[in-house]
């Protein structure tokens, strides 16, 4: 049986475990983050948490972004995504993103938090929840119609901008809304590479080809498989995202796990957000 078309449940279990571990790590560290922490300190502790559970390799190393870096203001080169000495303050938004490899399964997640949540933050999280509800339907329709992921990307881009936000995932390499995740070989080898993505990530892309694996504005081809979906929107001076795995198979499209932080709590969905200026 082709595991891409009908998801093997043991594969789903493996990915779910990796994803849950990654979310446990970022939730624990986000709980402890205090005023004055640098992005470096946050990523060090996320990595330590995961290593405490035996993680030796990462699809990508932890990222932490605070304040306006959560909407990638000032990010011009690939290196600018890496952690900096930017310090957390109690009224800023923070974002943690990490992708540990757990027995070959990648748990690529993104987590937004704010220690004193503002109305703007809550509204943006509500917007993300709206997208989360919408995405399985859009991916399923595109899969059945064989239109590829570009249609999904464009619809999500439209929705984000209609509601008064900036599409921040447009700034990611290849402007990806998501990327395929697969079980990786040589997972026990903690091979460092010159970029924050592991050699496993690089090899995976080289073996499968870049474009079929990236859910960007030009994606064509099959949508069946597992996708790490990461909508990222930008408000005034901050950004929010989530990242989690979406399964697309013969049964349709569904989130791998509903027990994720951004789905546990209802954020009020606002009417269309008015942008200043």
């Amino acid at each position: 049986m082709n595991s891409d078309t009908h998801m093997n449940s043991s594969i789903e279990v493996g990915f779910r475990k990796a994803q849950r571990l990654a979310y446990d790590a970022v939730e624990c560290v986000a709980t402890e983050i205090r005023e004055g922490w640098t992005e470096f300190q946050a990523t060090d502790l996320v990595k330590t948490y995961l290593q405490d559970f035996g993680v030796r390799a990462f699809f990508h190393e932890p990222f932490a972004w605070f304040g306006d870096r959560t909407r990638f203001d000032g990010v011009k080169t690939y290196a600018d995504f890496s952690p900096t000495y930017r310090r957390f303050t109690h009224d800023t938004v923070g974002l943690l993103d990490v992708a540990p490899i757990v027995n070959g399964f990648v748990g690529d997640i993104g987590y937004s938090f704010c220690k004193s949540p503002s109305k703007e933050f809550m509204q943006a999280m509500g917007e993300l929840q709206k997208l989360r509800r919408l995405l399985p339907t859009l991916m399923n329709e595109a899969s059945l119609a064989s239109t590829g992921g570009s249609a999904v990307w464009k619809l999500i881009d439209e929705k984000i901008r209609e509601d008064g936000y900036d599409n921040i995932h447009r700034i990611y390499p290849f402007s990806v809304l998501g990327h395929r995740v697969r079980r990786l070989p040589f997972a026990a080898l903690a091979l460092r590479s010159p970029v924050p993505f592991s050699w496993h990530a690089v090899l995976s892309i080289l073996l499968k080809g870049i474009y079929p694996d990236l859910l960007g504005p030009s994606h064509h081809g099959s949508l069946k498989g597992l996708w790490a979906i990461e909508p990222h929107l930008g408000g005034d001076g901050f950004g929010v995202k989530f990242e989690e795995i979406l399964v697309v198979d013969d049964k349709g499209a569904r989130w791998l796990d509903d027990n994720v932080p951004h789905a546990r709590q209802e954020f009020a969905v606002s009417s269309r957000r008015m942008r200043a200026g």
Partner: protein
């Protein structure tokens, strides 16, 4: 006042700490070193228990803190996460102020954790210890290198493990006697299991010198720091103020006549030094 050992399960492992003192008060957190467990702090904790909540985490392998294979749970970051989880258990709202007191390796941890909780930290007290950066600064001091002979042995692969198996009590006695541990404590401290686990901490800390994170710029601590050294410490030369450059802005250094385990050898004096220091800096319970 009663001080009891409590536990929680943190990141899959049982982690223990001594806990007592005044509920609802600010927290005095004591961090022990090598090759101790948290009971090394009991006499001092009793002195402060009427005014503060007093806690003392047990490092992996000490007390009821379960140990594990490998070094990964003995790094400063891993132990810091353990301590943060204990502090969260003791003060769930994270509103209480904290004073950190560290001895020996516990002093290195205290510096590290201070940089994570600086907004709640009111003071840092270091007893016969040094930050890792200070340790690095001492690399060109021959007298310190000689005093640290045992550290180099612990960094060797296999040999320390063989030595601990063959003659654990002999080695423990050498350490305690040369360190000036008062006689009344030596019998109780011949816990060679702790020695073995504590060695992992030395190895894990040594690896920090190879990691980028140690060399990143960190802002000097603004909280007041009291550093107490025993003149006759067999393992550490007393610090000088110059060594603290870039580490803290407000340092008080006291070098007193004493050995390595000052908190046991001269409990009352150490209590008075800390109490005066806290009063001078208006650090209330």
């Amino acid at each position: 006042m009663e001080i009891i050992e409590k536990t929680l399960v943190g990141r899959g492992l049982k982690t223990a700490w001594l806990d007592g003192g005044k509920r609802g008060a600010n927290i005095l957190c004591f961090l022990h070193g090598f090759p101790d467990d948290a009971k090394v702090w009991l006499p001092l904790m009793q002195h402060f228990a009427s005014d503060f909540r007093v806690i003392a985490p047990m490092i992996r392998g000490a007390g009821k803190s379960v140990s594990c294979r490998g070094l990964h749970r003995f790094t400063p970051d891993a132990i810091a996460l353990d301590v943060l989880q204990i502090l969260r258990q003791v003060d769930p709202s994270a509103k209480k102020n904290i004073i950190l007191v560290g001895h020996d390796l516990g002093g290195i941890l205290a510096w590290h954790i201070a940089r994570l909780i600086e907004d709640r930290l009111r003071a840092l007290v270091i007893i016969n210890s040094a930050d890792l950066i200070q340790v690095w600064r001492r690399k060109s001091m021959p007298r310190q290198i000689l005093k640290s002979w045992y550290v180099f042995i612990m960094w060797l692969p296999l040999i320390p493990n063989i030595l601990w198996r063959v003659a654990p009590h002999l080695l423990a006695n050498i350490g305690y006697t040369s360190g000036g541990l008062p006689q009344e404590f030596t019998a109780a401290k011949r816990n060679t299991a702790i020695l073995h686990q504590s060695m992992k901490q030395y190895r894990a800390f040594a690896l920090e010198f190879l990691r980028k994170r140690l060399w990143r710029q960190t802002a000097a601590l603004k909280v007041p720091v009291l550093a107490i050294h025993g003149k006759k410490d067999a393992f550490l030369l007393p610090a000088t103020l110059a060594e603290f450059a870039g580490l803290a802005l407000n340092i008080q250094l006291r070098v007193i006549d004493g050995n390595h385990w000052l908190q046991l050898e001269q409990t009352k004096k150490i209590y008075q030094l800390i109490e005066t220091f806290l009063k001078d800096h208006k650090v209330a319970a």
